[in-house]
Symmetry: C2
DNA sequence: ACCACATGAGACATCTTTGTCTCAGCACGG
DNA sequence: CCGTGCTGAGACAAAGATGTCTCATGTGGT
């Protein structure tokens, strides 16, 4: 049954192509289908066989990113323990997806009727719920809305991903920089 | 001497076109030259008479943004008083340019040899110097590098501008949300 | 009234990207 | 050894954006 093997190979290739595209578009968001194909080591024709067009590719990248974010959200166990530790876990888990997230975050400024809107909303809600929980527990200040904290997290992830990719900050500091700034801010505090 | 009047009119129009373009590109970063022209209430031909092409337009927008940022930096008096108050003043003063800054911040991910690089570097340096001053004064924590704090400021300004333009956060909270998150973080603290 | 000059409208060629198609090569299983 | 079917290379047209050009129009100063 060749189509089983075929299906398997397709899946592997599709995933590889998707990850190559993510890596490239993270660095150059305006990359051509041709450049994406070359980056994946395949021809443009084959790229088109996997993804009907650029829209389909971006859509698939959205689906991938949403899946990775959900995985990170699960792995971070947002409901366990103090909210600030959950935030640290979340940043750590979501780091591998930060570049792709940054690409889609800016790209999606244009999407009117986003087909993946439901997926993004789910993620937004889970993150916002974490911040709300922290506020309810008295851990987080209440003058910053959960919506803004969520938005700020995305912004910091994007900034961090770009800053790392351009060598302005060290990659190993990514998690610490983002989580600690988001949690504690720039001001030095006496209490640990 | 018609060319004096002419020169004056040119300057006025050019500025108006530039600001219309900034407002449009803030919302839709892929807007066409035609859309930019319509947004400014002029024809594409006239737009081309003012700006040789899209590159020239973006370059002029960079120059405008740099100028506005420098003005904001001056107005914020970064060397006066506590660094954290200087940061608050800076965020307040730079708010009007935040949208344009967000556009150029993402757009410039592509610019290799940025003609305005010197201008951006100057701004980066002034902001980083502020954070360094705060660290030296013991106000700011030293585990977050000035470069990262600068980058984070840009990221938060961009997030804030988008969140406001899409109605996810209230425009009147812009300054407070950004400055207080950047300074104090999400964690509630006892000390004022 | 005349003239200079900026403007708007539109035609036009060009360039880039995209999407589709064909064809030959090649690997893989039967 | 022989097909099946995926792949790469390339040709092709279509679409969108850009840059340039011309011409008619209107406005403002002389």
């Amino acid at each position: 049954m060749s189509h089983v093997v075929y299906g398997c190979l397709m899946a592997v290739d599709r995933d590889h192509v998707l990850r190559s595209a993510a890596a490239l578009l993270t660095r150059k968001s305006t990359a051509t289908m041709d450049e994406v194909a070359k980056a994946a080591g395949i021809s443009r024709a084959t790229l088109h066989r996997h993804f009907a067009g650029r829209d389909a590719l971006v859509l698939a990248l959205e689906a991938l990113c949403i899946a990775e974010c959900e995985t990170a959200l699960d792995a971070a166990r947002l409901d366990d323990g103090p909210a600030h530790d959950a935030v640290r876990r979340l940043v750590r888990e979501i780091e591998p997806a930060a570049g792709l997230l940054a690409f889609l975050y800016t790209e999606s400024q244009l999407f009117e009727g986003d087909a993946q809107n439901k997926g993004w909303t789910r993620i937004d809600d889970r993150v916002a719920t974490l911040f709300r929980r922290g506020q309810a527990a008295g851990e987080f200040r209440i003058d910053l809305t959960p919506a803004w904290l969520t938005e700020a997290l995305y912004g910091l992830l994007a900034s961090g991903a770009w800053a790392v990719s351009e060598g302005r900050v060290a990659g190993k500091d990514f998690t610490h920089m983002i989580a600690e700034l988001l949690l504690g801010g720039a001001v030095r505090r006496e209490e640990s």
